[in-house]
Symmetry: C2
Subunit: 403 residues, 2 copies
């Protein structure tokens, strides 16, 4: 007998038919003899409908009251799903986050889980009940309702899996797993049977959009075996765990990100601490910098720093840097928002030089110019012109998976 946490997203519970389908999956797991904790999101468009109601009344409503409003969505889902299980004659109980005791920090709309009380759920599991818990929400020290922000329900599921030492945390979505790249772009993208936490983190942050990083980070920290699986088709999904098959030689996948822009600071004085000053200032203003390239110019020891920021931060970053031009001592600032990032992700990538060569070769053969390169332990990213991004993904994916 195992303890399994199953999380279903909004589209998986969007109407009565989908809820009955979800109840079927839960029932199957329960009837195999497992203890089951279910985490649900709000139904399909419920959250949007509630936001619209709020907008009509007060477009600048406080986050506290928005959390109070939005948290009803998941409560509706768990109650309805419990009713579906009741109709199948299965013992179950729905619990809101405040009943479970999901304690969070106080930051409304972006709270973080501090701890989860175990008494209530443990007692229900001991009575062989299926426990349905509202995802995405918790309560803070004041006893007020908080919500967890993007990816919140996945995080709730992993946190519950950690608190109850679950054997498996299944994330049910409307895709059937994690793919080697976006299947809409590359039709013969392959579903991965398994992937490491770190690979998943890189893929998610690069735009794979299957799981939010917070949940994967938490799963890594507490060694929770996760599985991304389809709520619509009964077939194996993708397992996310510490270590995958030792014989694995290829990469996990190819990801792209076109939501970035580059900033180049030219004619910088070649003095110690200049780079630190630039990035410290950006960081203090909430602007994250990703790939950084530093080059020495030929004249007067002037140098150049280029880096990428999120496209939505570009205007803020330019304004900030320009205002502090005197202090930062650069001559020119250039930006480029017609770029994109293509990355290969795989555990042990850095120690396998063949991988990088393979990628560069594929891009060269496709006639794609590389503007910048960045590497980490498990990721190799290149910046290319925006128009070349899809072509690059196809070429690199084909080189790694079709040969």
């Amino acid at each position: 007998m195992s303890l399994i946490v199953q999380k279903f997203g909004g589209s998986s519970v969007r109407d009565a038919q989908r809820i009955k389908n979800v109840a079927g999956i839960i029932a199957e797991t329960y009837l195999e003899g497992n203890d089951v904790i279910v985490v649900l999101s709000a139904q399909g468009d419920t959250t949007d409908d509630l936001i619209e109601k709020a907008q009509e009344i007060n477009p600048k409503a406080s986050r506290r009251e928005m959390d109070m409003l939005l948290s009803t969505g998941e409560q509706i889902s768990v109650a309805l799903c419990a009713m579906a299980l009741e109709s199948m004659g299965l013992p179950c109980v729905s619990l809101a986050a405040w009943q479970v005791g999901i304690k969070t920090t106080g930051a409304h709309s972006q709270a973080r889980i501090r701890k989860i009380d175990s008494e209530r759920i443990r007692s229900e599991l001991d009575q062989k009940r299926i426990v349905l818990v509202t995802g995405f929400q918790g309560i803070n020290r004041q006893g007020d309702v908080t919500t967890l922000g993007r990816g919140g329900s996945d995080t709730s599921a992993v946190a519950l899996a950690a608190a109850f030492h679950a054997d498996l945390c299944q994330i049910y979505t409307d895709v059937d797993g994690v793919y080697t790249t976006d299947p809409r772009l590359v039709p013969n993208a392959r579903k991965l049977d398994e992937i490491t936490y770190d690979e998943m983190l890189e893929l998610a942050s690069l735009g794979a959009q299957v799981l939010h990083n917070r949940s994967v980070e938490l799963a890594k920290k507490y060694h929770i075996n996760m599985e991304v699986v389809s709520s619509l088709e009964r077939k194996p999904g993708t397992k996310i765990k510490e270590v995958v098959k030792m014989e694995k030689t290829s990469i996990a996948g190819v990801a792209k990100d076109t939501s970035i822009a580059t900033i180049a600071l030219k004619g910088l004085e070649h003095a110690p601490g200049v780079a630190f000053q630039v990035f410290n200032m950006l960081s203090k203003n909430g602007i994250n910098v990703d790939i950084i390239l530093q080059s020495f110019g030929n004249v007067d020891d002037a140098k150049e720093i280029s880096f990428t920021v999120s496209r939505k931060d570009l205007d803020d970053a330019v304004k900030l840097l320009t205002e502090n031009r005197q202090q930062l001592r650069f001559k020119e600032l250039e930006t480029d928002d017609k770029i994109g990032k293509v990355s290969i992700v795989g555990a042990g990538l850095l120690s396998n030089h063949g991988m990088a060569a393979k990628m560069f070769e594929a891009l060269y053969n496709a006639g794609i110019n590389i503007q910048m390169i960045n590497t980490s332990e498990i990721k190799l990213s290149v910046l290319v012109h925006e128009d070349d991004v899809n072509k690059a993904v196809k070429a690199v994916h084909a080189r790694f998976f079709d040969e």
Copy 2:
């Protein structure tokens, strides 16, 4: 400075415009320097929509899960109303029943309030915040959500008024007060400035449908000054309190009830305890009996008992009595569901014999036959043929109020 509890029903908060209107009323009360606790019902059709969602999934859903589902409705209302107050720059906080600590018995869908914790609300009031509380709901000893059944939000409001020793509990509805009779039937029905708890109880139980009896009983028990007032028009409503103006000489109102039926047991043995046996049996089976008429027949000391039951209970009552005919020793059972009850209600009615005479005279002049009569301290009821009910209300109302 006073503490005022204001309760707004579902139609008063049914859309953004109505919620803004409600916020205006609350703001006015608050800005006059009062502490304000607001109790809200679910918006307009929300409860019906949620019930429909449940029906689609499981028409026999448990009451526990129904309560979990339905209690989201009031939470949406309080959050939205708080947002409306925020947009007016007023300090406020919405609280669900579990946050307040509205402790109830465990009976789902028909729970009763046991106690209300005072800490959280007191602390919010001390910070000069308007407190918005979900009506209709509480939590039981297990920490599960319960709902209070019909008239639940009114009961929540009065219970809060009692717990915080409020100076006034205002019930805002879409009518502007309590009338001497149904204004749809008698266009010149008058709005009462004030009425006693007991009169209100009789009027409500006789179908005036402004306030549920539970809330009035609670108000009477804790000496809470209530007021029924319109949320749409700014004008005085009807005050409900212990004692009203001493000089009052007329009745409070005329009520009708056409949801009843009579049962007559004929040829009963004239033995002690027969009536007790009949009514005890009905009571044990959840069937309430109202007006009772007992008459001695002429033959063999046989007697007859007639009484009224709710029309919805008629079939059950007949079945029960027929099955126990041997034990109860009656010969015949007759029923009549073509009857109605017309009543006048007024404090001190019984000690003022002129009132009864006035009523009988009005009915006699209108050519209406009286089938049974029943009196209590503050009520005089007659049973008449169903077709005569409206005519009787008009005649009696005219006799008391138009002359």
